[in-house]
């Protein structure tokens, strides 16, 4: 058992591309669910929009990758409007069903083999990151975090990603403190009360949906640039559920909640994965075959996520940082 390798892997995972992407996804959800009480189950769709809004213009129309970043804001906002207009006036379960369905429609549309020249089908789009590679100073330099090696490219993706996280966290913090944010939270607590004060609940909800969607879309951008692929497998419905797990873990309705939540989430995922890999491989002590094998250990981490999510909501719904009094759980 190589403990130092397991731990350095896990620490790298906690600050790496996956953690950043999921932190942004959960920050977007925090605006939807944590502050406004919107039950968005289609966050994976927003991430997909983000990833493909970079990958398709670069490969199909030859745009510069950095020009695509404002384009992401436009496409994600359009998607949010498309989702919001029919559903925001209805009860929250309808928004949940429609968003989950819309995200799945998007995923099926980009996976279909009919339009591979556009979306790459199930293989996704793989060669669109050259602009980013050329823009950073030393993409092929080798670094080490304890025992975990990574390249200069990875380093700059992390710098880019954490800058986005910091900017969006600052924006969220400022907005939630403003009068606008107070109206948002009052909608979460009692929609009718907010309406009786003359607030246009629909437009507040819509702006919240757009804002959280755009933040989530940038999570997709980071995942796509960091993994150097935009692939439909990444954006399954489970991504949304993992983002919820992260949000609940960190604390719903707290600015730092989703960020710390994502770091802990990926630390635990990577740690359990590497640990189980170690006890099922050929070297050293091995777990008995009837219990766990080298073929089925990768599924255990998802069991941890699912079981952990259920137990957290039951026993510590406020997460690590949340405030029990301000619990955003019961949307109508």
């Amino acid at each position: 058992m190589n403990w130092s390798l397991i731990f350095s892997n896990a620490i790298y995972a906690a600050i790496g591309v996956q953690a950043i992407g999921f932190a942004l996804a959960a920050m977007g959800l925090n605006i939807h669910f944590g502050y406004t009480g919107l039950l968005n189950f289609g966050q994976a769709g927003f991430l997909l929009i983000g990833a493909y809004s970079v990958a398709i213009p670069v490969t199909v129309w030859g745009w510069n990758l950095f020009v695509c970043l404002p384009f992401v804001v436009i496409t994600a906002s359009l998607f949010a409007l498309l989702l919001g207009i029919p559903t925001l006036k209805l009860r929250s379960d309808y928004l949940a069903i429609v968003t989950i369905a819309a995200a799945e429609i998007l995923r099926l549309l980009v996976s279909t083999p009919k339009w591979t020249s556009w979306s790459g089908g199930t293989d996704g789009i793989n060669s669109f990151t050259d602009d980013f590679r050329n823009a950073v100073p030393n993409p092929s330099a080798q670094y080490k975090l304890w025992k975990q090696p990574f390249t200069g490219y990875d380093l700059w993706v992390m710098i880019f990603g954490w800058t986005l996280v910091a900017l969006f966290a600052l924006l969220t913090w400022a907005l939630i403190r403003s009068p606008w944010g107070r109206v948002l939270r009052s909608i979460r607590e009692d929609e009718d009360a907010a309406r009786s004060l003359g607030k246009n609940v629909f437009s507040y909800k819509m702006i919240s949906l757009v804002l959280g969607g755009v933040i989530g879309a940038f999570g997709g951008v980071v995942l796509a640039i960091g993994n150097q692929t935009a692939n439909p497998i990444t954006f399954r419905t489970e991504l949304t559920f993992f983002a919820y797990a992260i949000l609940v873990l960190g604390g719903v309705g707290k600015v730092k909640g989703p960020i710390i939540g994502a770091m802990i989430f990926w630390f635990v995922i990577s740690f359990s994965q590497e640990f189980l890999k170690n006890i099922t491989d050929e070297i050293g002590w091995r777990a008995p075959e009837w219990l766990i094998t080298a073929n089925n250990f990768p599924f255990v981490r998802f069991m941890i996520v699912g079981g952990g999510l259920a137990l957290l909501v039951v026993f510590r719904p406020q997460g690590i940082f949340g405030n029990r009094k301000e619990q955003a759980f019961d949307v109508r």
Binding site: T87, D93, I100, E104, I105, G306
Partner: protein, 441 residues
């Protein structure tokens, strides 16, 4: 923090018991069988696959040695005995294929992993090499028939989901895993615990019936345990519905990967029923398996409808779904009614899992792949309306099949058609087909 430790312990025990069901060791066969199945998908006589007889197949091991040969029998199956587990390449002799058929898009070779004890499967779906024999209009009745058949399976899945929603307000994501659990347990029991010896005809049917009963019972037990150990204590603590929904997502993910952990990622089919001859009635074609499945679905739905409309329990269920407080003050034992609904929903989910597994294949994510269609069905029909689930399911089933009929080049997008239809209908009539207006606001 007053959830009782007793509940937690019981829950853990329940999960252990469920996990143990999945732990049944694979039966050890003396011969390692690589089963090759050749089917004709080109002739759309019933959109069902037809077995192809007399095709020569050969298996080559990873070192390039020819280890076994065979010819398919009347059921389109050739069983090749291979010396050990490992990867084998199975190739069709294309010169032995019937006229007008080709090896299809995937080519005449497959690489198959064979495990000792479980064997391996290679499936060949032949395509047409000539021009399309049948016009599209001729296939319409069969498409509608298949749509109704698929809709009925979705209906018995989603009736439980809908009743649970109506009585407790919970959108239960773990319902998908209740479906999968029924199918997986039935498959495991059916292949490993042989009570009826034969592999054909009546005894095969009885074996399947026995396996189905086991699957249904386990699904029912799972749903019942969730209600008594998780949802009821949470309701007592007045935990909100959104929290409960997220808990159900957690349980769903846990169970889905527990099933994958034990059952594996490969899809498996019920061997003795994999291919059957069609019965052709007028323009429709259906295998005996499909016909029995459809009769079972219809009688289940009829039974549930009768129960809801005519019996005391049914009346109580409808009362609880209208107003739980009022119904409990008129002397209805709400908890018992809700438990009954969970058990019923679980049993129907398990049964529909087996039916769907017979129709297609048993796989760890079969339930979660269908969950969205179930939600779409109950939303379409009107959330919380049990008959809405039936109507919505039939619409969804027909929409999926008609999409494949209208756009044969885009069959992989057939779910998109159904889901997009859902969004459009919500725009026009948000309360669903049978819903009433006050429920949406």
């Amino acid at each position: 923090m007053t959830i009782r430790i007793r509940h937690l312990l019981a829950l853990v025990l329940a999960f252990v018991a469920l996990a143990a069901t999945l732990w049944v060791p694979a039966a050890h066969a003396d011969d390692i069988i690589l089963k090759v199945r050749v089917q004709n998908t080109a002739e759309e006589t019933g959109a069902k696959k037809q077995p192809v007889e007399g095709v020569a197949v050969v298996a080559v091991d990873s070192a390039g040695n020819e280890v076994a040969t065979g010819v398919t029998d009347a059921t389109g199956v050739a069983e090749l005995v291979v010396p050990a587990g490992g990867d084998y390449t199975v190739t069709l002799d294309e010169s032995t294929l019937p006229e007008g058929l080709s090896a299809g898009d995937a080519g005449p070779s497959r690489t198959v992993t064979v495990t000792e004890g479980l064997g391996g499967n290679a499936n060949f779906n032949l395509g047409s090499s000539g021009p399309e024999a049948e016009s599209r209009l001729d296939r319409l009745p069969q498409t509608l028939f298949n749509g109704i058949r698929f809709g009925l399976v979705i209906a018995i899945m989603s009736v439980g989901l809908s009743l649970i929603y109506a009585t407790t307000g919970l959108s239960n994501f773990a319902h998908a895993e209740t479906v999968t659990l029924g199918a997986v347990v039935a498959w495991t029991v059916g292949t490993n615990i042989r009570i009826f010896g034969g592999t054909t005809g009546f005894s095969a049917f009885m074996q399947l019936a026995f396996a189905t009963v086991c699957g249904v019972l386990v699904s029912m037990l799972f749903a019942g345990l969730l209600e008594t150990r998780v949802w009821r204590p949470m309701r007592r603590r007045r935990i909100g519905l959104t929290s409960m929904m997220i808990v159900s997502i957690g349980i769903a993910i846990f169970m889905r990967y527990l099933i994958q952990f034990r059952f594996g990622a490969q899809p498996k089919s019920f061997p003795q029923f994999a291919s059957q001859e069609n019965w052709n009635i007028g323009p429709f074609g259906a295998t005996p398996r499909d016909t029995i499945g459809m009769l079972v679905s219809i009688s289940c739905i009829g039974g549930v409808a009768y129960m809801l409309m005519k019996t005391r329990t049914g009346k109580a269920i409808r009362a609880v779904s209208d107003n739980p407080d009022l119904s409990s003050s008129t002397g209805i034992n709400t908890d018992r009614i809700i438990l009954f609904v969970w058990l019923l929903g679980g049993a129907l989910a398990g049964l529909s899992g087996v039916l769907f597994g017979l129709d297609e294949q048993v796989q760890w994510n079969m339930g979660s792949r269908l969950l969205l269609l179930m939600f779409a069905a109950i939303t379409l029909g009107g959330l919380g309306r049990p008959f809405g689930a039936l109507v919505g399911s039939l619409v969804i089933g027909l929409a999926v099949q008609l999409w494949a009929w209208l756009f044969p080049d885009y069959t992989d997008l057939k779910t998109v058609g159904a889901l997009a239809g859902l969004i459009i209908i919500l725009l026009v009539r948000p309360q669903g087909i049978l819903g009433s207006k006050e429920r949406i606001g």
